[in-house]
Symmetry: C2
Subunit: 207 residues, 2 copies
DNA sequence: CTTGACAGCTAATTACAATTAGCCTATAAT
DNA sequence: ATTATAGGCTAATTGTAATTAGCTGTCAAG
């Protein structure tokens, strides 16, 4: 019934594993349980399927972004948002981000697909960069600058703190993408990273 | 004359930009200045060209690794190797790594190619992980553990330090791959990262 | 000087994958 | 009840890309 959606789903799975060019429309159709020509009742071409995936992902992303900056008309988080962030808070936040990116069905497949297609088209490169680098970094830089103002953290460049906090999370994520059997080991390292980060930057020097 | 090599070179360029499946043997041939069928005098198939690139890269990599562990039969660096590493030393090392990966002809293309093909084959995934994650991390963890012993750095988990040092470098590298016009801006951030890292972890607390 | 292998070419051949044509059935609206 | 539409199918069609066949010129070794 909801064939149109199931096509996108199957296509995303296949594209993320093999890349656009290595996937045949027949495979997508088979995964959905129909024959290749029937796909064309729903999308006018293979490229059109790819574009539909992108569009859906963009709108999900926008929705999520809108949800984050939620306070009605206020575009950015204010100091109070982060007032109560502790070491455990940072751990929760980082692990949550990580687990979401790693296990959420759409998030993981979409990330892999973009990884694999990013150099073919500047638009994709930009989308990728925005979604997995610039936006998270900006958000976290904001967070850290708040935490400094609140006297929780040492006064250091928040942009640098953001990349030192986030880049390891992202790297561990890509390592899990490549070698899922190492998830347990890498998750441990992730938590150690966040705790050490928090300890090192926290103002009460408990080193 | 050295057509065989020039084929690899052209193929690597194209594969890294478009991915294996999007490159036609005719394009490779054209880049070399011959016709497609002539390729088959040198390689027995398109797949064979891909494999030859991998083989060459593996051997380059092994050579480089061998050069690093140079002391004749001694497999790992000893404490003295890192005795004199200062903040500026760390900066030089990190920026050097970065610039090499970013601008070296082979290094950059090979990295992009692997990025784009990594999920298609577990062997490629493993190769990628080893080359761009596990090996650098192991090397740097070793370095940091030495620097701790020497009393230069605070005593913190060296594996964590390694990922906090290296992951930002790698992330900035991939950002430059995607959006080369941002190189200047990102290079600044890179240097700030390393200096801040060094300051934060150095034992004489100059915060 | 002639022979063979090397490296190139043009012209098939083969294979296969995307898409189109045209037919069929069920179901929902008129 | 009739009909239009949605969504499926099989059987073309089209296009293209990898590879093979088979010819040619060059040049080094005998």
């Amino acid at each position: 019934m909801n064939t149109k959606q199931r096509i996108l789903d199957a296509a995303l799975t296949l594209f993320s594993q093999n890349g656009y060019a290595n996937v045949y429309v027949g495979q997508i159709a088979e995964a959905v349980g129909i024959k290749a020509p029937s796909l064309y009742k729903h999308y006018k071409s293979k490229q059109d399927i790819f574009q539909a995936i992108l569009d859906e992902m963009k709108s999900r992303y926008d929705a999520q972004a809108a949800a984050l900056n939620m306070n009605g008309n206020n575009a950015v988080a204010d100091a109070n948002t982060f007032a109560a962030v502790s070491e455990d808070g940072l751990v929760r936040m980082g692990m949550g981000l990580f687990m979401y990116f790693l296990h959420d069905d759409y998030a993981q497949r979409f990330r892999k697909m973009l990884t694999v297609e990013q150099f073919r088209d500047p638009d994709l490169a930009q989308l990728f960069g925005r979604q997995y680098a610039d936006e998270p970094l900006a958000y976290q830089a904001l967070m850290f600058s708040m935490l400094e103002k609140n006297g929780v953290l040492k006064e250091q460049d928040p942009n640098v703190m953001a990349i030192q906090y986030y880049a390891p999370i992202y790297m561990l994520l890509t390592m899990c993408d490549r070698e899922p059997h190492r998830e347990a080991e890498l998750t441990v390292l992730l938590e150690q990273h966040i705790r050490q980060f928090s300890r090192i930057y926290s103002k009460e020097d408990n080193v």
